[in-house]
């Protein structure tokens, strides 16, 4: 399908509303369009409401949930709201779609915009009727006066602009007035997905479009020495070779021709930099130059450890893991002398626009990024890279170019989730309570996303020698414990370099830090001879944290006893166990507790997770079914990461280049049941659910394996081979 949003929007007359938003930042606050009445939502002549949303749909359902919030506040039928997302020419910059921030941050922005629009419409109607606005009622976009007269939103403003500045006086509804928020409204875009009609980026076709493929260096920092253009000269498709700096690509008329040319092209590269041995990674990580920082220091940890009745120390490791989108990244670019249009599934429309502008050496005002949904990304996958690839090749050949990464491009080149080492030392007092807790984490930053000041965070930009940056975000995520200990210290050792290219993977450092924190609390519970849930609650003060643990205990029918299960497994070929873990995501966001039941086959070492229970509190729930879908996804995906996933590499490059060499969980291995208890907090802000339930899963599995076998695994993944070796 050919899709042009500007065409699509023609004739959409508009009530345009804006208001000042402290969160969207200085640069955007400067944007005159946002200072004026503009660009948040529009009522068309037919009554359709178009919402201009800077956040995008990544398969998580925010398109539907955010539309619910708008429909609720505006008092229109849900079906009348259309979300136009992520277009840099039409949408406000609400920041990248990351970190479970869409409902939490963009939700209140859109809620306020809709409330302001409703208030403006009521004032207009009141003036027309000659009554006080307080006397009017509104339902489904129709405003009624006490005498029975009525007027629709479309009649008031359809096709017109109202140049009003937001007063800030509109008050959003209280949750007890909600009729649309809180409902399990089906996903807007889902039917098109099951009929093969959905407009994924992979399905866009532009007139005159050519197909591009990239040829990446075989080693880090290898440079182009010679490109033998003659090696593809005889191939069909009017193949053109694009070489710029260390960027090498091919463009051809048909997709299969571009694939063939990329395979055939002979490129001589210089020797690059060797990677360390995979087996050395934990030690290599700890020895990597780092900047250290104390995040928490209370009491006297060293003396408390020295005086403790029992002490324990353990090191944990989580390797590089990948996003592994099922659809390899894809983008289309059309670069002409006038500027550039990019069609991209990016999470960061505005920042990527700025980065690509630098890559192309075109002013950013001349770059228009049109966001189009792609395959699920779970963080920073290859989408931004493919966009820059397409832009660079389109600029070189002067035609629209579609770049579809191959499977080996995505597996090999997507930025990976960071490898991290965590070490914890703890001490118990004579009563079996935690007297001291000393936590350290070695991690790089997890935020390597492209931006105007980091164009080298795209592969194409890096191959042109443009500057990159790895922001520290995420390394300390959930390093700080939610438990309250009399003496505690948390230290971050922020690594100054990484082995593989690293950026944000679902949860950033939270799953890794939570793996260590929640494994170690289990280890201390064992040392204290306590039930793991009772031991956790004993050290918590946060009522919402306690509530999810109590709820999951009830859901999982947890009967208190210390781990391991012991005698119950005697003489059996398979050992049954149960594991618990909990997170207060990012120490401010959602709460999730996961309890699971698993079996360990002692002969093969295979771990099968049979049942999972999750209690979840993310404040006020917008869409309970969408929320459950996210929780299930978090759990299944992180079970896969826990049991199977490790990015492998040799001295030159990633060798996990397809699904055989990077296996993920399959249907025969997913649990029989995932039971979920949602705790709806009407009085608490809605926070995101795209990540919290992922974080406790690795620890819950490790704790379950310990309960089943008495053996503690401290390195992810818990493959059959590793479990078997540990049991031997």
């Amino acid at each position: 399908m050919n899709l042009d949003r500007r065409e699509f929007l023609k004739g959409a007359g508009a009530l345009i509303v804006s208001f000042s938003l402290p969160e969207i930042g200085f640069a955007q606050a400067q944007d005159a369009r946002l200072q004026q009445l503009d660009a948040w939502l529009a009522v068309a002549a037919d009554g359709q409401v178009t919402v201009y949303c800077g956040k995008v749909e990544l398969g998580t359902g925010v398109q539907t949930a955010l539309a619910q919030i708008v429909a609720e506040e505006l008092d229109v039928a849900f079906g009348r709201v259309f979300m136009l997302m992520g277009d840099t020419a039409l949408c406000p910059n609400q920041g990248p779609t990351v970190g479970s921030q869409s409902i939490y941050r963009a939700g209140p922005q859109l809620r306020q915009a809709a409330a302001e629009a409703r208030r403006t419409l009521l004032e207009l109607a009141a003036a027309g009727f000659g009554v006080d606005a307080a006397q009017l009622k509104v339902a489904e976009g129709v405003i009624s006066a006490p005498d029975g007269k009525n007027v629709t939103y479309a009649e008031l403003v359809g096709g017109k602009k109202i140049g009003k500045t937001i007063t800030g006086a509109a008050t959003p509804k209280s949750p007890d007035q909600h009729a649309i928020v809180g409902k399990a409204i089906p996903r807007v875009e889902l039917p098109a997905k099951v009929f093969g009609a959905h407009a994924y980026i992979q399905n866009l076709r532009m007139p005159g479009m050519l197909h591009g493929r990239v040829v990446r260096p075989p080693m880090p920092e290898a440079r182009v020495e010679r490109v033998d253009e003659a090696s593809v000269k005889s191939l069909p498709g009017n193949v053109r070779v694009v070489v710029k700096g260390n960027f090498v690509g091919v463009v051809a008329e048909r997709e299969e021709q571009a694939i063939r040319a990329a395979r055939a092209l002979k490129v001589q590269w210089t020797q690059g930099v060797e990677l360390p041995k995979m087996a050395d990674m934990p030690a290599f990580t700890r020895a990597t130059p780092s900047r250290s920082r104390v995040l928490v220091e209370n009491g006297g940890v060293d003396s408390a450890l020295a005086l403790a009745s029992k002490t324990h120390r353990a090191q944990y490791y989580v390797p590089h893991q990948m996003h592994g989108s099922i659809g390899p990244s894809c983008a289309i670019a059309s670069v002409t002398s006038d500027g550039a249009t990019l069609w991209s599934p990016t999470q960061s429309s505005f920042n990527l626009r700025d980065a690509v502008a630098v890559v192309l050496a075109v002013p950013r005002e001349r770059v228009h990024l049109v966001w189009v949904e792609g395959s699920g990304c779970y963080g920073h996958n290859g989408a931004d890279d493919a966009t820059a690839d397409a832009a660079l090749m389109s600029q070189a050949v002067g035609k629209p170019v579609r770049v579809q990464w191959m499977r080996h491009d995505e597996h090999g080149s997507e930025p990976k989730g960071a490898a991290m080492v965590m070490e914890v030392a703890g001490g118990l007092d004579p009563q079996g309570n935690v007297a001291a807790w000393d936590y350290q984490v070695w991690s790089p930053g997890h935020a390597g996303r492209p931006a105007g000041n980091g164009p080298g965070n795209t592969l194409a930009g890096a191959q042109l020698g443009l500057p990159d940056l790895l922001a520290p975000a995420g390394a300390d995520r959930n390093a700080r414990s939610t438990y309250v200990f009399p003496n505690a210290r948390v230290r971050l050792h922020l690594l100054q370099s990484t082995v593989l290219r690293v950026s944000s993977l679902r949860g950033l450092g939270s799953p890794q830090n939570t793996f260590a924190n929640e494994s170690f609390i289990d280890e201390l519970a064992h040392a204290a001879g306590a039930d793991p849930i009772e031991f956790r609650i004993r050290h918590l003060k946060d009522e919402r944290a306690i509530a999810v643990l109590e709820a999951v205990a009830k859901l999982a029918q947890w009967s208190p006893r210390p781990a391991p299960r012991g005698g119950g497994n005697a003489g059996s070929v398979t050992s049954v166990g149960r594991g618990i873990a909990f997170v207060h995501y990012d120490n401010y966001s959602g709460y999730a507790a996961v309890a699971l039941q698993l079996q360990v086959d002692r002969a093969s070492g295979k771990v099968s997770v049979e049942r999972v229970a999750c209690a979840h509190d993310c404040g006020l729930i917008v869409n309970p079914d969408g929320l459950k879908n996210q929780i299930e996804g978090n759990i299944v995906q992180t079970l896969s990461r826990a049991l199977l996933e490790e990015v492998k590499f040799d001295t030159a490059r990633v060798t996990s280049l397809d699904w055989q060499r990077y296996p993920i969980l399959r249907f025969s291995d997913v649990p029989e049941e995932i039971a979920i208890t949602l705790i709806n907090r009407l009085d608490k802000p809605s926070v995101g659910a795209g990540e919290p339930a992922a974080s406790p899963v690795m620890a819950a599995v490790a704790n379950g394996i310990f309960d089943a076998t008495g053996v503690r695994l401290r390195s992810v993944p818990f493959t059959a081979e590793r479990v078997k070796a540990a049991l031997a």
Binding site: F195, Q202, E256, N629, E632, V636, F667, V670
Partner: protein, 148 residues
């Protein structure tokens, strides 16, 4: 020139004979249902039916296609949905949805052969189809809904 029959219609194909069926379906016939996922027959996103049997269109040369090809567009439409398509909507069994073509095409061929499968048979039938969003529980519910 190669001729193929897709969703009941004959098409003459301009692509070279060794071109994978998937590229012909997507780029020449402009069908969007079958997806490029791996090009290696490992993930199932490109699944179509050839004479009712599931096939990985990324790994079948177009010249080798002798039977009738059905894509998800030919399986059902919003007006006349296949029961599985209805079930996937009812169970809200998608997140990003990129794998869903393969799930529905694999499951529909399987259920046509085995309308009353056991849970283990359903899981075995779908085992070659990868989902990264972790929508498995819902996909299983959707298939069970039709199998029941």
């Amino acid at each position: 020139m190669t001729t193929i029959t897709v969703n009941g219609k004959q098409h003459e194909v301009a692509a070279a004979p060794d071109t994978p069926l998937l590229y012909v379906l997507r780029n020449e016939l402009e069908l969007n249902g079958p997806k490029f996922g791996c090009g290696l027959a490992q993930c199932g996103a490109c699944t179509v039916h050839i004479d009712g049997k599931p096939a990985r269109s990324c790994s079948v040369p177009v010249s080798a296609v002798k039977g009738k090809v059905t894509t998800i567009e030919g399986l059902g439409t919003p007006e006349k949905p296949h029961p599985l398509q209805q079930a996937f909507v009812a169970e809200q069994a998608a997140q990003c949805g990129y794998c869903i073509n393969g799930m529905i095409m694999t499951a529909s061929a399987f259920l046509a052969q085995n309308p009353k499968p056991s849970e283990a048979q359903i899981r075995a039938a779908l085992d070659g189809n990868l989902c990264r969003c972790g929508t498995h529980m819902r996909i299983l519910r959707a298939v069970r809904r039709v199998a029941a």
